[in-house]
Symmetry: C2
Subunit: 476 residues, 2 copies
Amino acid sequence: MVKPKLHQIDFLKSALTDDSPISPSDSIDAWLSDRRSSVKAFVEKIPLRSLRRWQSDPKTGNLAHETGGFFSIVGIHVSTNYGAINEWSQPIINQPEVGYLGFIAKEFGGILHLLVQAKIEPGNVNIVQLSPTLQATKSNYNQIHGGNKPRYIEYFNGTIPTKILVDQLQSEQGARFLKKRNRNIVVQVSSHEEVPITDDFRWLTIGQLKKLLTKDGVVNMDSRTVLACIGYGDYNDESIRLIHRLAPRSTNGKLVIESALNNERGEVDLSFILSWISGLKSKYELEITKIPLYDVRDWIVGDDTIQRKDCKYFNVIGVSTQIANREVISWDQPMIEPAQEGLVAFLVKPVNLVLHFLVQAKLEPGNLDILELAPTVQCLTGNYRTGHSEYSVPFVNEVLNSKKQLIMFDSKQSEEGGRFFREMNRSMIVLVDDNFEIGPYDNFCWMTLNQMYHLVEFNNYLNISARSLIACIPFN
Amino acid sequence: MVKPKLHQIDFLKSALTDDSPISPSDSIDAWLSDRRSSVKAFVEKIPLRSLRRWQSDPKTGNLAHETGGFFSIVGIHVSTNYGAINEWSQPIINQPEVGYLGFIAKEFGGILHLLVQAKIEPGNVNIVQLSPTLQATKSNYNQIHGGNKPRYIEYFNGTIPTKILVDQLQSEQGARFLKKRNRNIVVQVSSHEEVPITDDFRWLTIGQLKKLLTKDGVVNMDSRTVLACIGYGDYNDESIRLIHRLAPRSTNGKLVIESALNNERGEVDLSFILSWISGLKSKYELEITKIPLYDVRDWIVGDDTIQRKDCKYFNVIGVSTQIANREVISWDQPMIEPAQEGLVAFLVKPVNLVLHFLVQAKLEPGNLDILELAPTVQCLTGNYRTGHSEYSVPFVNEVLNSKKQLIMFDSKQSEEGGRFFREMNRSMIVLVDDNFEIGPYDNFCWMTLNQMYHLVEFNNYLNISARSLIACIPFN
């Protein structure tokens, strides 16, 4: 007698629909090309000391905007009993504000569509990627920089009444951000409500977005994290009928749908998973202290960049941007440039015909609560080569040496283009035998997609890499 | 098709059973008196500077055990945009370790019983109160103080195989502890397994514990928080049959059971509640910095005690204890002594015959995640008298001026006797009209018991006062 969430069946219908009369799938490439050519974007690396309106504190070296808004680059000292390295210090982005990442949803012909924006971000590889309807920091919507009010904010702040379908605080990259979270939100307007849109906005179904996610660098990180917060409910009469009607054509699609709706035939139930997490959070400790950037060991805080002596992990660089259709035409900011391309991957296996995902409980220094659930493999590619790294990454060989026909998903996805400079992660889902064993690791556990959707309803369970990857999984 | 949690119906059966052939209810008073008289406990206030094995850091004033174990008293600086006072500093208990609070459960005659201990704690008003089977800090079970290994630890650490029924990390007092959590756990052994017990242990049903909770200071805080983590499931065929058979006799009991099992006829569904919490966590900020105890404003760090200049809130005092049946016979420690008795209370109203609780989202400085859900009223009695306080407490008059026949629950319950010195809170549940309005406050929301049980499955949603109070609610 649990109250059924009526909108979950609407989400499922939208995810199983990969074309739309109001935004035909075969017109999207042309629209994106048009958007890319209609704006002039000029993005240039510049020395940190040359950044307009950004100041380096002479005592600490910390880098901040002159208004105190946006974000700052500070140092942290980390100590933990997790993993091979138990103490280090590093620069990190400090942005205590909670931003909005929100989609407006509306039914067209009985199918839920999400309003996406072809948005320019300085860090994007393709300059323009598909973002949520609204993507705004508190500094944005409080207009600290004196720009325009973000479009559509009134659908999210209560000014225009809507039905809230999803509303969760979710974490950002725990290795780069200090306890940063965004409000991932989907609001529905009635199908009679006229939402004014311009050329850079389009209504797409979830199925269309999932199809675009099979391509490299088309759908941005912010879209992916909100998509991942959309659950499709547990199996019920209605979803069985729906799947029967809009049945996925491929074997993979069938395995995925079973996993998305099924928490029943799993190896472990949700209370086992929660107990496993409680045990790990009791075992592992994480102590973070903010320190001056100048006191961060093994890093060089220079006039041009901030980087590690051995050039590992990432650099903090300065970027100057001029863009035509953004709130502010021209601005400078620090950005994070990765040292290498990254790899995020789930190993998956069918258990009683339900796909199970090998989930890693991973400690990252910026985590609010010690550990979050991550993909099986989440690393920078330079860090796992034997002999070239201070640690080895479990299961990386199983991912990279997999037979081609066992790769269910393989594309390159961008990190958030407002903070990360041209950072791409190879995103993979790889099938393994159903007798594949975890081995000696206590921080890995098999679970269904449905179980992950249940966890993601609550804050700070799935990390952004896991969310990004489950958003990519096509249902067809 | 959600996998039913089989143990939830066992919990419900146990909660509806308030006597037991193996521990008759009318024998419990005599047993407790016997336990109280069989041990010699000598508890004495002494100056902080006289505490054996505790040291005050000459530079910071912070108070710590010479081993670095147990806990320490440190200072914090708090800044927030929540409430009337936006900046203050205070002493706080720093105990980053996660302890165990655990019950062993076993069926006798088909009814689940929990193994309780008549446990002596220095801070207890009645010296002996009923505690969980295991109550151990990491220092305890790692034997930092060289005492005996805690009894029954092997049922909780995997040495003896058990079925885990409950396993959650839950917060302690957010005004007194800095981000402290304990692992609240219930493990079941088979009804054939012989668990050796001594005179200070007894098997009781949940219904028996709930009956004892109507008395002052019998069941300790640690028992209450674990009891609160026990959910009773949603209405299903089996629970309907069970309630029909073991039907609560009173009107109040019926209202409570409906609220415990029902998430359907509520005013708001769980996704609304989660959205309400996301909104508040986005709005309110909490910045905590550890500072030396000597730098805490308005507090006097003395040789005898640490206390506020105006004597408000609490004092840190020294206590010397000699006890016969504990791991360590004699020890000294700092404790928290409250400035006044406290009040915790829920206002409740029936909505479509289902009891709804008026829940407060409350910011406390030690919270891991800004806000946790608290009772309608949670305060020290001295702090709400008009003209005597810097702030007013909403709904306190409705609680204290209620008609007698509308008071559903009223008893005095102890705070944790290992850290808090003779601290009692008056714990009340008070009925209001079903047209009672929240008024201008955005941080209050009506919800059913069932909805609270769903939230408490996940960490850091309900604070310890709310958990303590929902544990007290009798089902009969």
